[in-house]
Structures are given as C-alpha cells and as structure tokens.
C-alpha cells in the first residue's frame, strides 16, 4: 500500500502554507458577514471563517438569525463556495456569563439592556480575538455597518444601517485589528455583491431581533432564567409620578420606558411608562412630557479615541439605535461615569440602553444609561 502522510486524492486548497495576511471572519450565516468574507477573499487575504455558537437553541427556534443549525449550515455553505476553511466555535459558556446573565440581571434591576453591545464588546471583539490570536490571524472581520480608519471607529456609509451604536464598548486597541468590509457599502450594495457572487445568503431576510430571544418575546427568557418568585416578574403598583396608585401590573420587567401598551386607560391624555422602580416594584407612568429628558447620567463609559472628551466638551449624542444625533455638553466625567446635558429634549432616555458620543462620523465612545435628567419639560413637537 502506498504510504504517505497524505491521501492521494486532491487536498483542500486552504491547506497550503501562505504568506498572505490571515483574517478571521465571524460568519453568522447572514448576508452581511457572507459578503464581508467574500470581499476579503477577493482582496487576497487568507480568510478563515468561523461561526460562533452562543447559546443552546434547543432546536425549537428554527429561524433564529444566528446560532441555529440552519444559520451554521448557511455560513458553512458560503465558506465552501468561497473555498475558505470554516469552523464552528462553541462560546456558549462565555456568552451565557457575559451577555445572557447580564441581560437578565439588567431587566431584574428595572433597566432595558442591549445584549448586542456586550456581545460585541466581550464575545466578538475579545473572546473571538483570542481565537484569532491562536491561529495567527492579524485581523478579525465582521459584517457590521461601521468603518475603521486610522485606528478610529467611524459610522457606516449607509446611515440607515449604521451599527456603531452597538460597537462603543470594544477595547480601543482592538480597532487596529478590525476590518469591517461592508461598512463602506449600503445594504443594497451588499445584496448586489451577494447576488453577483451567487452567495446563497443574498436574499436572506434581515435580522433585527435579539438572537437568543424567541419571537421577540424577551419575557419568555426572563421567565426561564429568573426564579419563579423574582420581584421583577411579580405584581406591583402602577403609579403616577405624584405617587397616585392607578392600577397594578404583573411584573415591572414586562415594561420598558416609553411603553404605552398594557397601561390602564381613563386618563385625559395618553400615558406612557416613564420609569421603573424596583425598590417598590412600581411602574411609573406619566404623560408624554414626563418622558422627555434634557440630560443623562451613564456608567461603564468606554472611549474609542485617544483624547476623551472632558467636562465642557461639546459632543453629539445618540441614545437609541438609529436615532438622530443630538448636540450636547459633557457636564462631568468621574472615572467611567459621565453626565451630559442635551441641547434639546429627547424622548424616552431609557436606563440600560446605550448612550453613544460622536464627533461627526467619528465614534468617541459610549456608556450605559443610568438615569435620565428631566430638566425643564419641553412640549413635544
């Protein structure tokens, strides 16, 4: 028998030693990361595709945007068609600890978290970066609509798709190792490239939901993860800001600031959730003007530029994904806590959501909103 280390059949092309620069690309099975991988291949990089398995989907949520078997298969098929190696990485433990548990704890504390921010900060651009190190990959790439230039994070060219709101938490040093190939394109251009390349994910639907939340129903996740007697899911009062009890609710974690649905009627004007108060399990409601904020306090602030804004600096502020940038002024910075005044009133500044600071296209940094400062109420336009 012919003895050699090698079987005499043809070998995968990816096995050749290469002097090309290696890039690890996170492939979710969606169109954006598929195109990202394809563009990198076209640019001549030595591309290695990985799909992260972040949670156990139990097989009962077949159409999740990522992590389901279907998504892994799509990512693998795209990698196969691009002729690049593809691996599935099991990051369930770390994701569970860094993202899922925090998501649940935040809701239990009366806040409305954005798990995608922590996933980017910890799972993609920290843990996955360690995997990139292990395979000598100089860069890590994703399908985010954002750009990196000169070690700075910039908004994506497509204003409708810009995802920098979710990327403020990554360590600044990581920027130099990031490639975001679709950040220069519009979503339409991305799809066009996908079609041109014949990628099977070209027509795949947009994923807007949180990947581990089935049917957009986050309460199901809380009910599964929290103890049965958790205060966040127990009945409590619905009160107005002057303390008048106007009804009861079945758990404050089922409500979020700005929500109108499921509140008692009978008021002369529309009422909204304006705050959640875990201390007495209260859901505080009020008319629209009580939702307006003229400033905020944020914690866990991270800066993506060498010279962080100091007290007195003018910044542009975003308090919700894709919301308009609002001019503001930094009032104080204490370590990782910041207080900002806004030049105009903003609707539903929600604890747990992110505040992100910009200077034009440049992302300066961001933090997690701790509280809204009402200042002077301003009538809604």
């Amino acid at each position: 028998m012919n003895r050699s280390c090698v079987s005499d059949t043809e070998l995968p092309s990816s096995l050749g030693a290469s002097t090309r620069t290696r890039v690890l690309v996170a492939m979710s099975g969606g169109v954006d990361s598929s195109v990202a991988a394809a563009l990198l291949v076209r640019q001549g990089y030595d591309v290695v595709g990985v799909t992260m398995k972040l949670f156990h989907d139990g097989g009962d949520v077949p159409d999740r945007p990522c992590c389901s078997l279907d998504s892994v298969n799509d990512a693998r098929r795209v990698a196969e068609s691009l002729g690049i190696p593809h691996y599935v990485l099991n990051l369930q433990d770390a994701f569970g600890h860094d993202v899922l548990q925090d998501f649940v704890a935040e809701y239990a504390a009366g806040r409305t978290p954005i798990p995608c921010v922590r996933c980017n900060t910890f799972t993609k651009f920290r843990d996955l970066l360690h995997k990139a190190d292990a395979i000598d990959a100089a860069y890590i790439a994703t399908g985010h609509y954002a750009r990196v230039a000169d070690g700075r994070l910039l908004r994506g060219r497509d204003d409708n798709k810009d995802q920098t709101y979710f990327l403020w938490g990554i360590e600044r040093a990581v920027l130099e190792r990031m490639i975001l190939p679709v950040g220069e394109m519009t979503k339409a251009e991305t799809r066009a490239v996908a079609r041109e390349l014949g990628l099977l994910t070209a027509e795949k639907a947009e994923s807007q939901e949180i990947c581990f939340v089935p049917d957009g129903d986050y309460v199901k996740v809380l009910e599964r993860e929290l103890p049965a007697d958790a205060p966040a899911l127990a009945p409590g009062p619905i009160v107005t800001s002057d303390g008048t009890v106007v009804g009861t609710h079945d758990g404050f974690a089922r409500f979020t600031v700005g929500q109108r649905r499921r509140l008692p009627g009978g008021s002369s004007e529309p009422m909204f959730v304006v705050a959640l108060r875990p201390a007495d399990r209260a859901v505080v409601i009020g008319p629209r003007e009580e939702l307006l904020g003229r400033g905020l306090v944020a914690r866990g602030v991270n800066w993506l530029v060498a010279e962080a804004p100091a007290a007195g600096s003018a910044v542009q502020v975003r308090i919700r994904h894709r919301s308009r940038l609002v001019p503001g002024t930094v009032l104080r910075v204490d370590g990782t806590e910041i207080e900002v005044a806004l030049d105009e009133a903003v609707n539903a500044i929600t604890p747990g959501q992110s505040v992100v600071f910009y200077d034009g296209d440049v992302v300066l940094g961001g933090g997690v909103i701790e509280m809204s400062r009402r200042g002077l109420p301003v009538m809604a336009a």
């Binding site: 280390c5 090698v6 096995l15 395979i135």
Partner: protein
C-alpha cells in the same frame, strides 16, 4: 514556498477506502448490479457475492455465516443491540440495562431511549484511567439485567475495556452481552469462540471500507427484535435490499484487518509511543488521558493545561494537521467530552483535549513533524493565554 504535505491524524474518525476494497466492490457498481433477492441470473450472481461476503465476514469473528448481519454502520449496530435486545427481554421481566458512561453516543442514546420505554438505566463507574470498574459491574449486573453494553476500545482515549470479564459476568447473570467494537476491530482478536459476547457492532469506514456499511454479530439463539420492518432479507433481522457492493468491500476490509492485525499493532504502537514520548518530553505538564491503562495503539489523547481544543484544532488544521477533540455536535461545535468528564478529568483540562489517531496514512515522518509542530503551536497558544 511549497507547502509541506498535510498530515492526517484522525483515523479513529474515518479512514480512506483501501484500494483492495475498492477493487473488490467495483464489479457490483457495474455488470454485477443485481438484487440478491431476485431469482434470475443477475440476482443469483449478487446473491453469491453476498453469501460469500457474509461467510468471510463471519470467519473474521470466528462465527458461522448466519451469525452475521450487515448494517449501515456502527450506530445502527449499537441501536439494534441495545434496543433490539432489551425490547425482547423486558417481556421476560428483565428491566435493567447496564452500560458505561464512556460509551459512544449511539449506545448511550439508545440506552436513554430504552429508559423512556421503561428500562432501568445503570451506568457502571469508570476509574481515572478510563477503565470500567469490574467491582461496580458486579454490583450492577444481576438477575434483573436484560443487556449489558460496554465498548471494547474507547474511541476518545483508546483504553481497552475488560470485555472478557464483563461478558463472563453477564452470561453468569443470564443477560445479553453487547460490545461496540468499532474501534477494536483490527486491533483486538475478536473471536466468538473465545469470548462469550452475544452482539458485536463493527463499522466499515474505520477499517478501510466505505461509510454506510457495518457488520453485526449475533450469537446463535440470542433473541433480537428488529429495528426495521419490511422484507425477509437477513432473516428479517435487517430488512431492505442488501448493499451488496459495500458488503463485499467490508468483508475484504475485515479480512485484511485480521491478517494485518498483529503487524499493524506493533507498527502503530511504536509510532504512538514515539509521538507520546516526544510530546511529553517537550511539554512536561501535558496530560495523556488513559495513561496507565491498557490502551489501543492508535490513539493518543493529550491535554495541555492553559490551552483549549477549539483553538488548537483550528491552528493544527491551518498548519496542515488533522486531529479531533471530544465529540462534535451536529453543528460542528465542540462540546465537553462526556468520556473525560466521566473519568473525573477537570473541566479545563478536558476542554484542552486533542485526540490524535494513527492508522494507514501515518508514517514516522508524520510523527516527527507533529512532534515538532505541536509543541510550537502549544507554546504559542500558551504565550497568548499568559499574555491575556
């Protein structure tokens, strides 16, 4: 710079089809295409080939032809043994199924399925070397036991299990003894005249036959309920038109494996020991799983604390070395090894496990190259872990 040839060190996962096997099968993908159940000449030709394949496979077990049935592989054999044996004996009041926590999932999941159907599941403890405890087996095999299923060689560690003793204990209790010999065939002398096993499952693609074919030994007189229903092929034990070509190929592969067994053992054992010694010398704190137990010659399962298998497998693959770790789930992601955790291996050490398995494609040159490359990749991975 021309890239060095890649190295295949995953023979426990699968092996290339041997040329002799392919040659033996070829006529059945051509002119000898008949259905062995047909009465005409095409049918007779196929039937003759199938009968002969069965006789030759039977000889490899020291068995009679009617004691061998062809299956789709190891998983089917394991399901057939556990469920087919248990479903018959439960009617006789024997409710317990005895197995071990280090079995292949094909056995463990079949045992779990039987438990859903009313079986009492008893898993025999293993010691730190990965060997099933005979003392615990004695305590668990009794008059309530329907069937005992323990693998001959563990696929992750290569540890050889005390099958002679377990088979004897089982027979003394009047129960059925099954062994998954998927890793053992061609390594161990599997002779029905010497060891009182009742069922043995073997897989073709681990020994140079194609994927999708397996042999299943059934001792004469052992009750067995089929998994499939249909025609009368294989005495109704395994209905469905037989895969004649693959059966012929499997018989050839089994014969070759039996003929070459002792030489193959000596050769693999020398190379494995050389690799193990080199790696342990260069990485003194490396943990070799199953060390101290009787081990098959083709498996080296090694953990280096401070690394993780996922990253190492990627790095090895990208450097041209194919290995594996614990069991991979359907999506291809790596899950912690149930075998290593049953052995009491610490989770962080288990999560660093790399299984290298040697076989027909392995040469001393491969071994020496891996002995250089693996420690270098480990050093890199650890440097990163230290820096993080």
């Amino acid at each position: 710079m021309p890239s060095p040839a890649p190295i295949y060190l995953d023979h426990a996962a699968t092996t290339p089809v041997r040329q002799e096997v392919l040659d033996a099968m070829t006529p059945f993908y051509g002119p000898r295409f008949g259905n062995p159940s047909s009465t005409h000449r095409w049918g007779r030709e196929a039937r003759a080939a199938l009968d002969e394949a069965r006789e030759r496979a039977a000889q490899c077990f020291g068995a009679a032809p009617d004691e061998v049935c062809f299956t789709s592989g190891g998983t089917e054999g394991d399901n057939l043994a556990v469920l087919g044996g248990w479903r018959v004996l439960r009617a006789k009041g024997r409710k317990a199924l005895v197995s071990s926590p280090i079995e292949h999932k094909a056995v463990l999941q079949s045992v779990h399925q039987a438990a859903k159907e009313g079986a009492e599941e008893r898993l025999v403890k293993v010691d730190a070397t990965g060997t099933v405890s005979l003392d615990d087996a004695r305590a668990k095999i009794d008059a309530d036991t329907a069937l005992v299923s323990v693998m001959w060689i563990n696929n992750e560690t290569g540890v050889i299990q005390p099958i002679e003793e377990l088979a004897a204990l089982t027979k003394a209790a009047g129960a059925i003894f099954h062994t998954d010999a998927v890793q053992a065939f061609g390594k161990i002398d599997i002779d029905a005249r010497k060891v009182p096993f009742d069922f043995v499952s073997v897989s073709g693609h681990k020994i140079g036959a194609p994927k999708g074919i397996g042999a299943f030994y059934i001792r004469r007189g052992t009750p067995l309920e089929p998994l499939f229903f249909g025609g009368s092929q294989d005495r109704g034990r395994r209905p469905g038109t037989e895969n004649v070509a693959a059966a012929v190929g499997l018989a050839r592969a089994m014969e070759l494996a039996v003929e070459e067994r002792e030489a193959h053992w000596a050769e693999l054992s020398a190379m494995r020991d050389r690799l193990e010694a080199a790696l342990v010398a260069r990485i003194p704190d490396a943990v070799v799983h199953g060390r101290g137990a009787k081990r098959a010659p083709h498996v080296l399962n090694i953990s280096v604390p401070g690394t993780d298998s996922e990253s190492m497998l990627m790095a090895l693959d990208l450097a041209g070395v194919a290995c594996s770790s614990g069991s991979a789930c359907q999506s291809g992601s790596i899950t912690p090894s149930h075998v290593l955790s049953a052995m009491g291996v610490r989770a962080d050490v288990a999560n660093a496990a790399i299984r290298m398995s040697l076989g027909s494609l392995t040469t001393e040159d491969c071994i020496d190259r891996v002995a250089e490359l693996f420690p270098a990749l480990i050093a890199k991975a650890r440097g990163l872990a230290g820096a993080a």
